[in-house]
Subunit: 389 residues, 2 copies
Amino acid sequence: MSATEAFVAGPRTTIAGSPTGPLAGLGFAVKDLIDIAGVPTHGGNPDWSRYAGIPSQHAWVVQTLLEAGASVVGKTITDEVSLGILGENVFDGTPLNPAAPDRVPGGSSSGSASAVAQGLCDFALGTDSGGSVRVPASFCGLYGIRPTHGRIDFSGITVQSPSADTCGWFARDAEMFARVGEVLLQGKLPTTLPTRLLIATDAWGFADPEVQDALLKLRHRLSSLIGHTEEVVMATPGLSVWQRAQRVLQSSESAKTFAPWLDACNPRMAYSVARNLTIGSMISEAERSAASLMRIEARARLAYLLPKGTILCLPTTPFPAPLKDLPISVLAPLRERISCLTSHGGLTGVPQVSIPGGLVGGAPVGLSIIAGRGCDLDLLAVAAKLARM
Amino acid sequence: MSATEAFVAGPRTTIAGSPTGPLAGLGFAVKDLIDIAGVPTHGGNPDWSRYAGIPSQHAWVVQTLLEAGASVVGKTITDEVSLGILGENVFDGTPLNPAAPDRVPGGSSSGSASAVAQGLCDFALGTDSGGSVRVPASFCGLYGIRPTHGRIDFSGITVQSPSADTCGWFARDAEMFARVGEVLLQGKLPTTLPTRLLIATDAWGFADPEVQDALLKLRHRLSSLIGHTEEVVMATPGLSVWQRAQRVLQSSESAKTFAPWLDACNPRMAYSVARNLTIGSMISEAERSAASLMRIEARARLAYLLPKGTILCLPTTPFPAPLKDLPISVLAPLRERISCLTSHGGLTGVPQVSIPGGLVGGAPVGLSIIAGRGCDLDLLAVAAKLARM
């Protein structure tokens, strides 16, 4: 694989967008989990498209962006069927993280983040169920959004865990990031900003001290921008407790989603992916049921903390991107730790934007802001204003 | 894959044997789990040889056969790292079962059985931990042997479950089968045959009625040959109890064997193989310990039943080869049922020979004879004499 690779192997899929529209002239990359009519969606696995069939129409997000004037410049590498947050695919390779070439790009929207970070497109589509936009945004030094769950039409996108799946995007700068948002969220950036900022002390404490230090300057700018700032504990039962609940929900849900495929096709997979699907298939109904109750509580907690006009900030990831090619036994606990800072997304459905926040040992880390459900445009407005400060 | 495929892809590995010796002029195929110096041993998985490295010398069995005059004609397809008894490899394809082309060949020594059955070589080497020679012998209508555990030097062969691994071979006729045996077992066929035949009523009852019927004629010939015949229950706690014990032992052992590879390389695998390795890694020490006690009891049971001069006969498999490309959910219970008739091998280490026994719906099934540990040559002598009756 060449050092600039971010796109899937084979002829590059390109589609010209409408000549006019708010995004006319821009080029975007599409995670190969998102349908383009007539082109197999490989989902990062050599045996997925044979099962899924050739899509007959574009995913809603692709169609909407084409109509807005943007052009498809290619489909990008993804972790297998979106199960992964590190961005190492044993079949397609590891897309380059140009900000830290010896490190993983993050996943599962690895190729989309890589393509944007390398300047191979203006923006790129990804999906985020457990952190698959937020983590690569943090690791590659990009803007990335996980929208409110259910806000953006998911039709034509490979389902993993329906109760957590979202479609988001990456950009290198806040202005481009917001322009795409106005199209996909079908609204205008608000002119008034939130007025209350919460600092999630539990989430900050969970990050490496170097990450906290690296993000502090941006956090202070954010605090100046918003004004009233206060400290809160975000996950009252504990971030690790939320993480476990969401792992139960997402693992059992994804195991259920892919069970018919696994049974019928016995696909080739990375051992680690098959292992996680196997463990997911063994989760008991009692455990799933307990996690569902915790989800109700977590949703209520964030709804209480985040009325309209309030946002919360936290580090996107507890550390910068790990090195490439580490053994499973080293990566597994890192993955678990990362998901302690991302699980609230799938668990509660709130929107989150990751902003390039600083460098640790030369590698990027992101600062995240979250808002109440439906307040996606508020987050984009904050990010845009912060960039102009 | 062409319909005659049994060998691994790429240039055919050939080595001329010694010009003289008891096997001079014969050609044999080598399961790609067995080392040939300077040639990668792929073990049926695209990421195994990278980890295992290039062997610097031939496996003992290969070296011994070459010195006896036989020549290597190629390396054959195997189930991934020998984990499978059906013979479907998602990377290399399913070798042809020429006796039943719409059915699997059996595995894991699938390509070796296929090559012999197709007449592409005179005999072929396989390995048998849980049934990997006996099952393809039954399904392809061949002679096949699982020797006494520990009798044939296993050096240079990919280890799966050391307490169960053996190296065996296939041939189309009993004479060829015995000639190879005299070389690999380093002894002469005895001139006196066993004088007591046990019919394992539990094992016969476990086979489909059609299989019992198809094997009855050969069983009667065997009974005439040996003379004194009596019925016994082979597995006093039950064949299914022995199967479960051996599954625990072999699954936990193979998971332990491959753990360092899985951790370091995160290999591409069939989902089903990765799933079984994952389940194997979760077996508790208490369960393993209970199965070890059952192994002691099973060994004592067969030692009691099979003094020198006594052999026992049973169907090799409960049914003929299943159709190709069935879903995992259909194959898994079939695999479990097959292993009820094969688990005594890994559990107790006794030698077993499968003899072409008859046809069911046009597909072959084998009749097996087993003897006490070390009595391998007695079984070959019985098979040879039976063929001349």
